[in-house]
């Protein structure tokens, strides 16, 4: 079988689209981002609890008092987790994605229901949309639409469209053929047959599809956050990568609350909008024995008044409160409010350096915006100038693949930490194992496996390619690739049970501060030289931010400083990284002026 170079064709197709259709992507992006911003502005305008109240009134209208109370409690819980902002942006993303999905899916479903050939042609397309892993089109999404909510929005729309189309088609096909024939026999036009007979009768099935669309959209939030969509997905993602169980549970629960709210509301909406559903609900209500006050549901008019009143209260509060602005000491306002976009992925030293610089740049009058992204999207964004700078580039090994691809579109702003090291690590209680040489012949003890990280990571290639060979360990040990967080969880588990374990790890890493670990010596130098942490800017960063580029060039950190900064941020907890880094900075008088001297 000859090699079919589908992959390289796809790549050139993406390149071509990128260079020739950018106006189209820009237009789409403008529209969708506008919708997203609009919805987000509305949802995040009122205070959290007020908004929760508005959503609870909607729940009351659709489902009754019990649902309203539960909805309010759940949403208040999200606020108490300090995840309200993330929740509103997630909710906006889902609402916009769902609306667009439905606008596309329902007509497609109708078309497919009326024409067998369309249905046949659509089926494989829908299969691809539903099963193609989202990561595959996330990066092209970033190339076309830049980071932010857009790639996530696109990925969500692609993924959640199929059930919308399928359920619409199924719903219409399920309508009794005799009813359609009856409509025709009385002279109904095809269009009216659709509007008066087929759609109303298909509505319960279509609404089940709507429900599915929303649920699938919600399941995409984590993936969307990897391309900068933010929201609860980002909270989940960073909690997972940092093995922060507590934050993981809280942000996960917040997703669940939103899911349940949206699921119940769309379910109830189904019975509200469809005549058949209303009939069913009326029948069920007459057989219901729960107390009347629980069953009471405000009419549409009453509910609308409730929502409007709460919204007006929110607007009023907003007016009273508005107008506070931070001020920057005179003479030190070098940035003059200029925005610097800093990207980072949730690695500890990246978080530490990013939030430290956020404090520094703010003190100098810049407006730094920080955004968490996966490495792939972040490098893509930098290369395209949609992101200004990031501080955690591991070169020359770990991020070699990105540098190879985008190196000519990036600028290296200097190194601030080094050398790093890659190593295999065992717990300190493994007394006899001190060097890579000691691993030989002990595979039985370790179960024959070395716990690795993501198969794509540069160090995994090095481990399999050089290290195991040099020490004659290949064949004896198997490197299990998983993910960084899985590796850390596995390490945590083994340490608690005092079991033997050998894992890949690197320095700097907070695990060395948290656990009692031992780096295995590498007398043969198989891991190669250590790496440096580079600050990487977009191509013309130095031209656009000459002072910042200067400051970043002079930026250096010792292992001790970095460890204490990471510890301070760890102590401050999730969501307070900026304040923690600020506290750390303020505790070191003179450091600010050293990092960002006012006079050049």
């Amino acid at each position: 079988m000859p090699r079919i170079n589908l992959g390289s064709w796809a790549k050139s197709a993406v390149d071509w689209l990128q260079s020739h259709l950018s106006w189209l992507f820009d237009a789409i992006s403008t529209v969708l981002t506008g919708m997203y911003d609009g919805v987000h502005a509305v949802l995040s305008a009122p205070d959290a609890l007020l908004m929760a109240g508005i959503l609870a009134v909607v729940a009351w209208w659709l489902r009754g008092l019990a649902a309203a109370v539960l909805a309010f409690a759940g949403l208040a819980l999200i606020d108490s987790f300090r995840l309200w902002d993330q929740a509103t942006s997630t909710l906006s993303l889902i609402l916009v994605a769902s609306v667009i999905t439905l606008v596309l899916a329902v007509p497609l479903g109708i078309w497919a229901a009326r024409d067998r050939r369309v249905s046949k042609a659509l089926r494989p397309v829908l299969d691809v949309m539903q099963t193609m892993p989202a990561f595959v089109y996330l990066i092209p999404g970033v190339m076309f639409f830049s980071i932010g909510p857009m790639p996530g929005l696109i990925a969500t729309i692609v993924f959640s469209m199929p059930p919308g189309v399928r359920m619409t088609e199924l719903g219409i096909r399920q309508v009794d053929g005799e009813l359609v024939e009856a409509a025709r026999a009385f002279g109904t036009t095809p269009r009216d047959t659709l509007l008066r007979v087929q759609l109303p009768l298909a509505l319960p099935t279509i609404m089940a599809g709507v429900n599915q669309v929303i649920m699938l959209a919600l399941s995409m939030v984590v993936i969307a956050s990897m391309a900068g969509a933010g929201g609860l997905g980002e909270a989940v993602y960073s909690a997972v990568t940092q093995v922060d169980i507590g934050a993981g549970v809280e942000s996960g629960l917040a997703v669940v609350v939103l899911a349940m709210y949206l699921d119940r509301m769309t379910g109830a909406l189904g019975t509200r909008v469809s005549p058949l559903g209303r009939r069913g609900a009326a029948k069920a209500a007459s057989a219901d024995r729960t107390p009347a006050f629980l069953r009471y549901r405000p009419g549409t008019a009453v509910a609308t008044v409730g929502v409007v009143v709460l919204a007006l209260v929110a607007g009023g509060m907003h007016l009273v409160r508005g107008g506070d602005r931070e001020s920057v000491a005179a003479g030190k306002d070098i940035g003059r409010g200029k925005t610097v976009r800093i990207g980072y992925f949730p690695w500890d030293e990246a978080v530490a350096s990013t939030y430290l610089w956020q404090n520094v740049l703010e003190a100098r009058g810049y407006k730094p915006q920080v955004k968490q992204l996966d490495p792939g999207p972040l490098y893509t964004a930098l290369a395209q100038g949609q992101m200004d700078v990031q501080f955690d580039s591991w070169l020359p090994t770990t991020h070699k693949q990105y540098w190879d691809r985008y190196g000519d579109k990036l600028s290296d702003l200097g190194t601030w930490y080094g050398p790093t090291s890659l190593e295999l690590t065992v717990p300190s209680y493994m007394k006899d194992v001190n060097s890579l040489e000691d691993l030989k012949g002990r595979s039985g003890e370790f179960g024959g496996k070395i716990v690795g990280i993501e198969a794509s990571a540069g160090m995994m290639g090095k481990l399999n390619g050089n290290v195991l060979k040099d020490y004659g360990l290949d064949g004896e040990y198997k490197v299990v690739s998983s993910s960084t967080s899985t590796m850390l969880a596995e390490l945590d588990r083994a340490l608690k049970k005092k079991e033997p374990i050998v894992t890949t790890l690197w320095s700097p890493h907070w695990a060395y501060g948290t656990y009692d670990l031992k780096k295995l010596k590498d007398p043969k130098g198989a891991w190669g030289k250590g790496e440096e942490l580079h600050s990487i800017g977009k191509k013309d960063f130095a031209k656009e931010f000459p002072r910042v580029a200067e400051w970043v060039k002079g930026f250096k950190m010792s292992e001790k400083d970095l460890a204490s900064l990471e510890a301070e941020i760890q102590k401050g907890g999730k969501g307070h990284e900026k304040e923690s880094a600020g506290r750390w900075l303020n505790a070191r008088p003179g450091l600010l002026d050293k990092m960002a001297p006012v006079t050049s």
Binding site: E178, E181, A182, A185, F186, G187, T188, L201, P275, R279
Partner: protein
Amino acid sequence: MSRLKAEHLYKVFGRRPEAAVKRLEGGASRDELRADGTTAAVIDASFEVQAGEIFVVMGLSGSGKSTLLRMLNGLLDPTSGSVCYDGRDLTALTPRELRDVRSRNISMVFQHFALFPHRSVLENAAYGLEVRGVPRVERERRAAEALELAGLAGWERSWPDELSGGMQQRVGLARALATDADLLLMDESFSALDPLIRRDMQDQLLDLQKRLKKTIVFITHDLNEAMRLGDRIAVMRDGRIVQNGTAEDILVRPANDYVASFIQDVDRSRVLTAGSVMTEGAVDAATTTVGADTPLADLFGPLAQGTPVAVRGDDGGIAGVVTRERLLAALGEQPAEVTAGA
């Protein structure tokens, strides 16, 4: 002039239907076509229906009767042949004109009622008028009248699923009547009902027909129903009309063995009339006089007393007499003798 006239109707499903029609006209059989993957549902059907007449198409399932019915209002396009309604060739109309005919002149009653479950009884009955664009107040008034005709006054606000089968079909009937269409197509409309209800509905249809004088094409697989309702009956088999005549024609002179085998189960005493079995001539000692269209079943009582029954002719005078022997011979499935005597 006939209200509805079908001429050489063919309906073939499958590939290249026109070629199949040619072969059928050339004498090919239905089975030969089936071997090639095409299905001839209706073959060379011609008939006329007079205004105010109930024309019944009788046949077993698969005989093509429902397909034939659907060609009469254009739900199915004939592969060949024409349908004339009031002198207009329906097969030549544009889709828009055809929809107009359906909403004004031809309405339909379905086997499984086909009521819209998301509409109330009144809204269902008003459907045809709504499609035609009649204003709400007027269409609801006319729908309510139709419901009253169908015996459903007071049920306007109910929903179809709250009604029994018989009542649902009355809604179906009211929906068809509300448009004031002259031609009613009824597709096995009573077949889904249980026997007692079915009988009620048949009676009601006959009763309505006396008052409204619609033109009705009624499809059924039940020969008893056909005989009860039909002014004329067409018997279909394998897509062809094998006999077309009055109930008595079919009972007394079945066109072939197939029809003959069918009529074995028919209650002859309810189909045959005094007029068709009487012997013409003088009457002596007749104590009872009946009309010529009285079913034989109603003569059992009088004849049991031994005296012959006199039969009144169209002019009101005595036209003939039915004796006990005559009656028994007619019921005895001896078509030839009855015919001879008729």
